[in-house]
Structure formats: C-alpha cells, structure tokens
C-alpha cells in the first residue's frame, strides 16, 4: 500500500497501466481509444480545472467536419469526447500538473494503489495488462509520473505505459526579438483569446496582429465582433500560415487588411502600447529601411507559431525532431522509449483538431496493444526521409512488421506549391505520384503507404516523400 500523508490522507504512490498526460482533444481521444481496446486501469491527468484543453477557449465554429460531419464550436467538439469519457467512467484528475517523468530502475511491484480507486471507479479490478506486467518485469522499465494538485498533494504514479498529450504553446515575443519598449498590451493571441472568450474581458481596443496563423486570424474576427478595432494583420512570410477559409471569414469579411512580407520593427509606449511600427521585409525576412509605417494602437497580438510543449519529454531524454519540436516516433506513434507514445500537438502542430483526435486514437490503440503484449519490439525501423519541398513527416520511421495494412504519413510542405506532384519513393525510386492542386505550409497533408508495396521492395532501406513538377 502507498504511504499516506497523515494530514490530508493523500496517497503518495499508486500504480496504473496507462497514464495520459493532458486532457485536451488528444488526451481525451487517446483515453477513449485505449479503453475501447480493453485498457481498464488508466488515468488522464489534466492541468486545467476542466477537461477539453485549448478547445474550451476556441469558441468559434469549424471543428469536427471530418469527425462528426457537422460544424461544431471548440467547446462542443470537446464536449462530445468529455461526455464519452464520463460515460466510460475513465478516471481523470483535474488541476493536476505533472512535474516529473522518469523510469524505474528496480522492480517495485508490491505497493501502489489503483488510480481508478481514487475516483471511485474500477478499483480492485484485475487490470488488463496485469499479465504483461508480470512478463515485463526486468524486461521493461516502468514509467514514473510525478504529479501534484491541491486536492491530491504530491504523488507518483507507476505506469506501464504513458501517452504524451500535452499540446503546444505559443511562440513569445522574445523568440521574435522585436525591438522596442516592453509595455502592457502585448499578448500572445491565445492569451487574448482566453481573456475574451473565457472571461469576457478585453485586452485592448485598437489592435495590430503580427502573424497570420489561424489563432491570429480567428482573434482578428473575435476582437472585432467584441467591439475592438483590428487595424492590421502583418505576416512576415509571403503567404499566410493559416487556413484560407479563415482569411476569408475572419479578415475579408470585416475589411481587415492582411499585409504579407511585413513585420513589426518597433513597439512604442512605456506603460501601455501606444503604437507599433511595421515595415516590409526582403526575401531574407529582414526589414527594408524606408518602408516603416507607424500604426497607433493599444494592443499587439502575436500569433507567430506554436511550439510543442515537450519539457516533460526532455526529462525522459526522448530523441526529438528539430523540424517539429516534437519527439521522434515510429509508425505506432511510439517514442524512443518503449511504452511512451505521443500524439496531438505535442507531437507536431496540427491544423485541424479532427486529425488530432484521429492520431490520438491511434496512439491509444497502440498503447493498448503494447500493454496487452501485442506490440512486438521494433526491429527494423525504416526511416521516412523528407525530400524536396517536404518539411517533416510523422512518423519518422516505419517498422513494416508492426504496421497495419496501411500506414498514414502526415507531413507539411515548406512553401506554397501549385499543381505539383507528391511522390512517394522507396529506396529512392518513385512508386506513387499524386497531383496536388495546392500545397501550403499552413495545411497538413497526408499520404497512405500500403504494406504490400513496402513488402514488395527487396531490402527496403528508405521511404521518402517529395514534391516534384
């Protein structure tokens, strides 16, 4: 039994089969899929006061067209999954932050509480993975998840498998190194979104937005609808990082100008933002002297990209993909540490939540296979290489033996391409080609590999994707 804290009756150590870190769209879908695949003893750890993650503040519509064939708002989309989690009595802990992630060295099997018992569910039930756990002793290290919350204090969960679903965060001003003063009135678009949509508080009245990623575009509309004046959206690149329909619906509808190849070169105002200076940039993204224009405003919103939040992954020493800032995973979305899976925006930043849910469900099923002893150890991982025009792929490697009949490869391109062919090559030889009318970095693309094709190649060493004429 775990040692309990005398004052609060807290349990300091417990055991589960699967811990899912993050209760946003990825964590919810992963948990549901794992439970559907037979994993009883699992727990979702969510740092916020409610499940749903960032969707709770994405009150605009446009979610779920793929998954539910209807257009939902963020909270509604999350709501469908949350309802299912409750129905399935999947245990979750709110307001809970994971502060450490590690692996066991020794076998310490004889103590621990079932996580489910804490929420009054599935306690005492023999877990689906009990057998595997027996087998795995000495073979596979267990994962140690250290978490804390007001309600449960500080405790450690011993788990057979972990799914990382921590999401991403926004790139801050500092990363852009914008010169000028540091007054109040500079927010990441997501912070502003939270203030406006969750609290009904306005972070400003006259707004300039830097970055035309989807959150920036969405916030241009939201701020406008809530009574602010959005004067300009500036984008460093020659194209928008957001979905085209968001440019139409969020900017064009309201006459908000979008200036491409433009950046903020100065921020004025000592206490509150009073103006920003924008300038055109050259092909190396350097401001062109003489093109400066001062735009009076009280607020600068930054929507300059998202970064997967992988500080915890770092504690496990996972190998990372520098192009995504997410961990490297194989066809089973398994990271370099066996039994640790990743999905959603912590793996790579997605454009649509539908794809997050889809990917996370796969991670949930694979984690279940792992726990049930049905996922053999990777033996021969064939690397998926990025060819011309491709910025990254997920997964980064495929073990043909472990893959299903088909394998989805998600990727993003590095520039805007029109009427090009997407080519899949095996050992450098093109095996399939698909005409694409339009490819843009803001939109995630996908291609399906067939197991039969891969098996058909003698001595397969490499899979690659490229964009060709």
């Amino acid at each position: 039994m775990g040692s309990a804290c005398k004052v609060h009756g807290w349990v300091e150590r417990m055991r589960v089969d699967l811990v899912i870190i993050g209760g946003g769209p990825a964590g919810l879908a992963a948990a549901i899929a794992a439970r559907e695949a037979g994993i009883e003893n699992l727990v979702i750890l969510e740092r916020d006061a409610r499940l749903g993650g960032i969707l709770n503040q994405c009150i605009h519509n446009g979610f779920g067209l793929h998954t539910f064939k209807e257009e939902l708002t963020g909270p509604e989309y999350a709501g469908r999954y949350i309802e299912k989690v409750r129905e399935m009595k999947i245990p979750y802990r709110l307001d809970t932050i994971v502060i450490d992630l590690g692996e066991t060295q020794e076998d310490c099997a004889d103590h621990g509480e079932e996580a489910g018992r804490v929420n009054g569910e599935s306690g005492g039930r023999r877990s689906a993975a009990e057998g595997v756990r027996e087998q795995s002793r000495g073979g596979r290290a267990r994962k140690l998840v250290t978490a804390m919350s007001r309600k449960d204090g500080l405790y450690t969960i011993e788990a057979e498998a972990v799914i990382l679903a921590m999401g991403c965060r926004e790139r801050p001003r500092g990363a852009l190194n914008i010169p000028g003063y540091r007054p109040a009135g500079i927010y990441s678009a997501g912070t502003a979104q939270r203030y406006v949509n969750m609290e009904g508080r306005m972070p400003g009245r006259e707004v300039v937005i830097l970055g035309s990623g989807d959150i920036g575009l969405i916030m241009a509309r939201r701020m406008t609808l809530e009574g602010a004046k959005v004067k300009l959206v500036a984008e460093l690149m020659p194209y928008s990082g957001g979905l085209k329909r968001n440019i139409v619906q969020c900017l064009d509808d309201y006459g908000i100008p979008l200036r491409l190849r433009t950046t903020v070169v100065n921020i004025k105002g000592k206490e509150r933002v009073e103006a920003v200076v924008v300038a055109k940039v050259d092909e190396n993204s350097r401001p062109i002297p003489g093109t400066e224009e001062e735009i009076p405003c009280d607020t600068l919103l930054l929507s300059c990209g998202l970064i997967p939040e992988n500080e915890l992954s770092g504690k496990l020493g996972l190998a990372m993909n520098p192009a995504t800032n997410g961990p490297l995973v194989n066809e089973s979305l398994e990271t370099g540490v066996p039994g640790v899976f990743a999905c959603g925006n912590v793996l790579h930043v997605h454009d649509l939540v539908d794809y997050v849910s889809e990917e996370a469900a796969q991670a949930g099923r694979k984690a279940a296979s792992y726990l049930q002893g049905n996922l053999p150890k990777p033996q021969e991982e064939i690397p998926v290489r990025v060819g011309k025009g491709v910025r990254y792929t997920v997964p980064g490697a495929v073990d043909v033996r472990r893959m299903g009949e088909t394998q989805l490869i998600r990727f993003r391109v590095d520039n805007v391409y029109r009427d090009k062919n997407l080519e899949v090559c095996l050992n450098g030889k093109p095996v399939s080609s698909r005409r694409k009318r339009m490819l843009a970095p803001g939109e995630m693309e996908q291609v399906v590999l067939r197991k039969a094709d891969l098996e058909g190649v003698l001595d397969l060493r490499e899979i690659s994707l490229q964009i060709v004429d």
């Binding site: 709770n56 009150i59 605009h60 519509n61 446009g62 067209l65 257009e71 708002t73 909270p75 509604e76 709501g79 007001r150 406006v196 949509n197 969750m198 609290e199 009904g200 609808l225 809530e226 979905l243 085209k244 329909r245 440019i247 139409v248 619906q249 064009d252 509808d253 454009d351 649509l352 009318r437 339009m438 939109e443």
Partner: protein, 133 residues
C-alpha cells in the same frame, strides 16, 4: 474574398471546409454559367450562395449571472445573412443568462428576425467566477 477577373469571371475561395478551393465562376448577365475548380459539390453551392445570398454562422459570448465563469459562448444555430452579423452581436450585448446554463440552451430566439436561434455552446455551473475553490 472575391477576385474579379473580368465582368464575367470571378474567383472565390470556398470556405465550406479547410481545403479552401479556388473556385472560378463565369457569369453572363448576372447569371452563373460555369463553376470550376471546386473539389466537391459544396464548392458550387458555396459560390452560388456567396454571390447571391452570403451567410455566416456567428459565434460570440453572453453574460452569465452567478456562474463559475462570467460569460458563456454562444452560436447561431445556422448561418444568418452576412449583413446582419453585427446586428446579432448588438442583440447579444443585452442578454444575460442565469447559471447554470448547458450546451444547447437557447440564449436568444429568432435573433434579429432571422428565424435563427442563438444557443449556448458550453456548460457553466453555478459558482463564483473566481479562482478560489
């Protein structure tokens, strides 16, 4: 966004889904004679509607009294005429609901006479809108 290529030719980006097809429309005396570039029938429907009767779904907030949060998100159940979007927002400004509210609750019936209801899109429990537990 609407690019006018010639009096008889326009290009629109379909907003029906994230693909964002560039749909070209040919017109003769204001009548659509050809639609090209759309991946699916929705693209054609979209440009037809966008050129004759553009509509949008509106999402915003209304105030909640006595809830764990001070506001709750809302949406129009279906799209309303584009020209009435700000009128809809103005009507929402005056609305205050009492906690608890649940997803699907009607916040405004027949907003701006459009025949479309505005419904709540999240749950807000009773409580004080404060971080204290």
């Amino acid at each position: 966004m609407e690019t006018i290529l010639s009096p008889e030719k326009k290009e629109l980006i379909c907003i029906g889904c994230p693909l964002g097809c560039n749909v070209a429309v040919e017109l003769e005396d204001g009548q659509i004679t050809a639609i090209t570039g759309n991946t699916c029938p929705r693209g054609a429907d979209y440009v037809r509607k966008e050129l004759t009767d553009p509509k949008r779904i509106v999402t915003s907030l209304v105030r909640v009294k006595g809830g764990e949060l001070a506001v709750v998100p809302v949406k129009t159940v279906s799209d309303i005429p584009k020209g009435q979007v700000m009128d809809c927002i103005r009507e929402l400004k005056a609305v205050e609901l009492n906690a608890p509210v649940s997803m699907g609750d009607v916040a405004v019936k027949n907003v701006c006479g459009t025949g479309v209801d505005v419904v709540v899109t999240a749950n807000v429990e009773k409580g004080t809108s404060c971080i204290e537990e």
